[in-house]
């Protein structure tokens, strides 16, 4: 029998860098989220001072007459909007991380592979056909059903033609985006003038029309789906070994795949329903977290959620304050950041992993 020595004695020889501890990054990101939330609430056409903001926070219901404007701006405009940015960013980043795990490909992003345009198609259908069966939930539900069907289709295509690697997934994305775009185009063509207005507003990817009702709808979806997704962290890690070896180690791949398709569709649909398609968050954020903390999904998913939310809140502050009083659509900002990053990832090559 071998002597069992304490770990600090047996582990002295570690020539390579161990993973850094996760706690500092969680704390740092959480702190940054809180600060950015405050920053987002204070900046804008009507700037609020810290005192005004704190007063509004301290008294959510009764208002001094002198405080009325600040109070309304904070509670009715800025806070729901910043929270929506946080939730949408978290949803997109987690959905990107999960899609990448599912496809075994770091280039999988809801926008690039076509999940977002699938969700848009569902949302546009709901708007144009004026469906209203479930009140405020109709739009996200339509987006979800369409996104789930699209994700399943993309997955089936990607697995059938696996040999193509990166190029293949991107080609599938192009095709799916083209088809979904074409159908969305027909629907837009059929739309009435007032529907067109809401379609245009929505399709540019904007946080300009957010109220508490929307935040109330998206919050449970993102929290619940994120929690369920985090529970799949261990099987997602094993999926990196390929489906066959994952199954050997105890992953029920068929069930896992179904769950991942539903959860990524849910998260993407939640984001797309309220803010249109905002691209590249799901590509950039998980990649940065992987660089910092390694690919293990135990930390990748929650850290991506925090960082994605942070990025989108910052982007929204930028969208509102770069060219006041008008707003730059936030999707344009994330694409400005994400597009070159995407090119760099492709050029770096190694992204498809090891196949021996």
């Amino acid at each position: 029998m071998r002597l069992t020595l304490p770990r600090y004695l047996t582990n002295t020889e570690r020539p390579h860098r161990r993973r850094p501890a996760a706690m500092p990054l969680y704390c740092g990101l959480a702190g940054a989220v809180v600060l950015t939330l405050a920053g987002a609430a204070m900046t804008g056409q009507v700037p609020l001072t810290l005192g005004q903001m704190l007063a509004a926070v301290a008294m959510p219901f009764d208002v001094d007459d002198g405080q009325r404007l600040a109070h309304v701006v904070f509670w009715e405009l800025r806070l729901p909007r910043a929270l929506m940015a946080l939730l949408v960013g978290a949803a997109l980043a987690m959905s990107g991380a999960a899609l990448q795990g599912l496809f075994g490909n770091p280039l999988a992003d809801p926008g690039i592979v076509g999940v977002s345009s699938g969700a848009s198609l569902g949302a546009v259908t709901v708007i144009v056909l004026q469906l209203d069966a479930l009140g405020p939930w109709t739009l996200p539900l339509g987006a979800f059903v369409s996104a789930a069907a699209t994700t399943a289709l993309i997955y089936a295509l990607a697995m059938r033609t696996r040999q193509g690697g990166n190029a293949n997934l991107l080609l599938i994305g192009i095709a799916i985006n083209a088809i979904a775009g074409a159908i969305t185009g027909y629907l837009t063509y059929l739309a009435s003038t007032e529907q067109l207005e809401s379609l245009l507003f929505w399709s540019m990817g904007s946080l300009g029309n957010i109220d508490w009702r929307a935040v109330g709808v998206i919050t449970p979806i993102v929290v619940f789906a994120g929690w369920l997704l985090r529970r799949q962290a261990a099987p997602l890690d094993l999926l990196a070994l390929g489906e066959r070896q994952a199954r050997h180690a105890g992953v029920d791949v068929t069930h896992l795949r179904r769950r991942l398709v539903v959860l990524t569709a849910l998260l993407t649909a939640a984001a797309v329903s309220f803010t249109g398609t905002i691209g590249f968050v799901g590509l950039v954020i998980p990649h940065l977290i992987r660089l910092l903390m390694g690919p293990s999904h135990r930390h990748l998913l929650p850290l991506s959620a925090l960082a994605g939310g942070l990025l989108l809140m910052l982007a929204d502050i930028g969208a509102r304050s770069l060219d006041p009083p008008s707003e730059i659509p936030i999707g344009i900002l994330t694409a400005t950041l994400g597009g070159p990053f995407f090119l760099w990832l492709i050029a770096r090559g190694r992204s498809m992993g090891r196949h021996t």
Binding site: R14, R19, L238, L241, G242, G294, S296, R354, T356
Partner: protein, 290 residues
């Protein structure tokens, strides 16, 4: 020569029982009425030419594919009655090729072996360290597993399979990428596991490794079992020459006293003449300098 320690294991069920299993893939009969039992406590080596059906038989035992006719049992239970999790508790598989898609570190990959096993987490660190040590990859523990050499990858996969802590191990050409030392080490640890009561089935192309380390050999040819038994029973020069269509001679290992197979030239009028089958009974020890 090795001899199975039958008394060390009291489990009456064979670890793996393949009963009259046939399988066709792409319209071709790949496995033909295979009958095979592998017991706990033994290392069974599957040998045979390329395309004989070794990997297919292994994936049949692993539960990856169902036979068209016949059936397969693991630890006394039909494969179709076992859930994915139960299968993972019974058997670990080292495949012929390995895949990794993100930059996990070697230790993280090894840990994946037991990530979904219902085992006490308190032992995780010990078992992982132990597995790293057995595969001699402790010094690589924090390396990006996507940057490993072929042999280092194979050793990482082997460590992951060990970390799964199952009583049945199915290894498909585990030594193909390994250097001499690690070929020996891997098969020695496989044998140690068998001695401790596991059932190890290993596909090997190197007949000498099979002869030296396996208790039992199963020679497959054209989807059927051509011969099975101890190394001396199976590794008959005439049979090998016919099955592999390559003349061979069978010698005796100077130290281990197990068979040693050497290939011969096919020149001369007929291949049989170069590899007379009586050599198996009359080993040419003299040809080894001692």
């Amino acid at each position: 020569m090795t001899s199975p320690h039958d008394e060390t294991h009291a489990n009456p069920e064979p670890a793996i029982a393949v009963v009259m299993a046939s399988l066709s893939l792409g319209g071709r009969r790949v496995l033909n009425a295979i009958d095979l039992e592998c017991a706990y406590g033994h290392v069974t080596a599957l040998i045979g030419p390329n395309g004989a059906g070794k990997s297919t038989l292994l994936s049949l035992a692993a539960g990856d594919v169902r036979p068209d006719t016949g059936h397969v049992s693991l630890a006394g239970r039909r494969l179709e009655d076992l859930s994915v999790a139960e299968l993972a508790a019974h058997r670990a598989v080292m495949p012929q090729d390995s895949v990794l898609r993100f930059a996990y570190q070697v230790e993280e990959v090894v840990r994946m072996g037991r990530a979904l096993r219902d085992l006490p987490p308190a032992r995780d660190d010990t078992v992982v360290t132990e597995s790293l040590r057995t595969a001699e990859i402790e010094h690589l523990a924090s390396r990006d597993a996507m940057t490993l050499s072929g042999g280092e990858q194979a050793r990482t996969t082997f460590a992951r399979v060990l970390a799964q802590e199952t009583s049945i191990l199915l290894l498909d050409e585990p030594t193909a990428a390994l250097d001499l030392r690690h070929q020996e080490r891997l098969l020695r640890s496989a044998r140690a596991l068998a001695r401790a009561g596991s059932c190890v089935v290993v596909v090997l192309h190197d007949l000498n490794l099979a002869a030296a380390h396996a208790d039992r050999l199963v020679l497959l040819a054209d989807g059927g079992v051509e011969a099975q038994g101890t190394p001396w029973q199976v590794l008959d020069a005439g049979r090998l020459t016919r099955v592999y269509r390559q003349p061979v001679s069978v010698l005796t290992h100077p130290r281990r006293h197990c068979p040693v197979i050497v290939t011969c030239d096919a020149e001369g009028d007929d291949a049989e003449g170069l590899a007379p089958s009586h050599e198996a009974d009359n080993p040419m020890e003299a040809s080894f300098p001692s």
